[in-house]
């Protein structure tokens, strides 16, 4: 007990932890439709991928995870321009995400519920991230004009 941090240090810790989320989220746009605090990861099978404006879209099935089993419609934050800048051309992207390919996907669910999600990360069976650049590729204000970048 003697080695426990003092009250001051514990309060400092609480303040630090309270401040962290604000630092992490900063400004946001489209993100407000989704709840990043409830994100989850599951294995999935791609049913369709669209490399289009205003945002690329990924449709997939989760079959093995009882908690998340179902069909989902996913919005990717990067638009084609951002994907292009990060080296993910249309041909490269669609070749990697054809119907039937197995992936591991991390998503943030809609705050309103339902099966529409924000796709944060896609990893293929080799463990390589697809459409890299991350969920914040291009900056913190996830593309979001009314819903688009």
């Amino acid at each position: 007990m003697e080695n426990r941090p003092s009250a001051v240090v514990r309060i400092a810790g609480i303040v630090a932890l309270a401040v962290m989320p604000a630092l992490l989220v900063a400004h946001h746009g489209t993100n407000i439709s989704y709840d990043r605090s409830k994100q989850w990861t599951a294995k999935a099978v791609v049913t369709e991928f669209k490399y289009v404006n205003p945002h690329a879209q990924l449709y997939f099935d989760v079959t093995d995870d009882p908690a998340h089993k179902g069909h989902y419609s996913g919005e990717l934050l990067p638009n084609p321009a951002q994907l292009l800048r990060n080296g993910w051309t249309r041909k490269k992207s669609t070749a990697a995400l054809f119907s039937g390919v197995k992936i591991t996907v991390t998503i943030a669910p809609s705050r309103a519920g339902g099966d529409t999600v924000l796709v944060l990360k896609i990893v293929d069976e080799k463990g390589e991230e697809l459409l890299g650049g991350g969920p914040n590729a291009g900056g913190p204000e996830g593309p979001a004009r009314g819903a688009t970048p």
Partner: protein, 330 residues
């Protein structure tokens, strides 16, 4: 607590841990705020006429101190820390808002402001929004796009000054009697007439335009653009500030060094604002002509808002995400 005691050592360890975590988090957040830059990108901001320095947050593609013609604005300019591709704002370029100054609305302006429901900024009624009372409510009232009424969600033209606030390139195309500004995001084209014609008064304009009526002239080495006659359905910026059909916008563009173009704006709209509203100073940086390439083809991307794409996205993604209801026809 005795100096050098185990208790003091433990406390120091805790403090060190928290400080380290905070610094890492802040560094991560800051880095993401600027977006990932390509190798060699960089720059601490050096606003004004001095050359920009290398460091995080900027593409550094030119020597800012190279000689230049201050009246030559032809070329592709961008506020994007990555050059293009949306989302990234370089550190000295401002954000997607017109101004950090609180507007002074007339009653009609306040009503128009209240009717606009943007999706940018901090989420309405969120803890995040409540934690920033220093910001005008316009930056703290965002709602999911499905519940908003941003006209650009239906691909309506953005107009000005909103178009110049998006963090993507704008190409200045200079002809003898006019300057076109071609915005990559939305693929919008605006004409600034430099042929000496007089800008009509707002009440002389029979038919407003999405991109308004604009004239330009030089004051020293500053290009002064005055415009009016905008369609009221456009927003001043991404946070849904309104303007009336009486808005007169003054833009003052000054090339402050080889690769930095500075923009200062003043919005005058007596129907909606009690006094002229000054914009936040914006800066754009020059891109090489061949910086943006697609299939080896150098040009602005055709990043237009096509209703065919937008309507499908709204139906399949935007509306279900905002309402929780299944997409129609899925």
């Amino acid at each position: 607590m005795k100096p050098g005691s185990a208790q003091e050592a433990t406390m120091k360890n805790w403090i060190t841990w928290f400080v380290t975590v905070l610094l890492v988090v802040m560094a991560t957040s800051s880095g993401r705020s600027q977006g990932p830059g390509p190798a060699g990108a960089g720059g601490q901001g050096a606003a004004g006429g001095r050359g920009r320095q290398a460091g995080p947050g900027y593409l550094k593609l030119f020597d800012s101190n190279m000689p230049f013609n201050p009246r030559d604005l032809a070329g592709i300019w961008t506020p994007n820390s990555n050059g293009f591709g949306g989302g990234g704002r370089c550190r000295d370029c401002g954000d997607r808002g017109y101004s950090m100054e609180f507007p002074d609305f007339t009653p009609a302006g306040q009503r128009a402001f209240d009717q606009n429901i943007p999706s940018y900024g901090r989420a309405k009624d969120s803890d995040d929004a409540k934690a920033h009372p220093e910001e005008h409510i316009g930056r703290r009232r965002a709602q999911p796009p499905a519940l908003g009424n941003d006209g650009y969600g239906q691909c309506n033209p953005m107009g000005m000054p909103r178009a110049v606030l998006y963090p993507d390139p704008v190409e200045f195309i200079v002809l003898p009697d006019r300057i076109y500004t071609h915005f990559e995001w939305g693929y919008g084209l605006r004409t600034v007439w430099m042929d000496g014609r007089k800008l009509p008064k707002a009440d002389e304009i029979d038919f407003p335009r999405w991109w308004g009526y604009a004239t330009g002239h030089w004051e020293g080495n500053t290009l002064v653009v005055e415009s009016t006659g905008y369609d009221e359905r456009t927003w001043v910026d991404y946070f849904g500030y309104p303007h009336s059909d009486e808005m007169v916008l003054e833009e003052r563009y000054t090339r402050v060094n080889y690769d930095t173009l500075e923009l200062k704006m003043t919005l005058t709209d007596p129907k909606y604002y009690r006094k002229p509203w000054m914009g936040e100073t914006k800066r754009m940086h020059l891109l090489p002509k061949d910086f943006i390439k697609q299939s080896g083809w150098a040009s602005l991307l055709e990043d237009l808002c096509a209703p065919a794409n937008e309507n499908e996205f709204n139906r399949q993604i935007r509306d279900p995400a905002g309402t929780g209801k299944p997409a129609q026809g899925r």
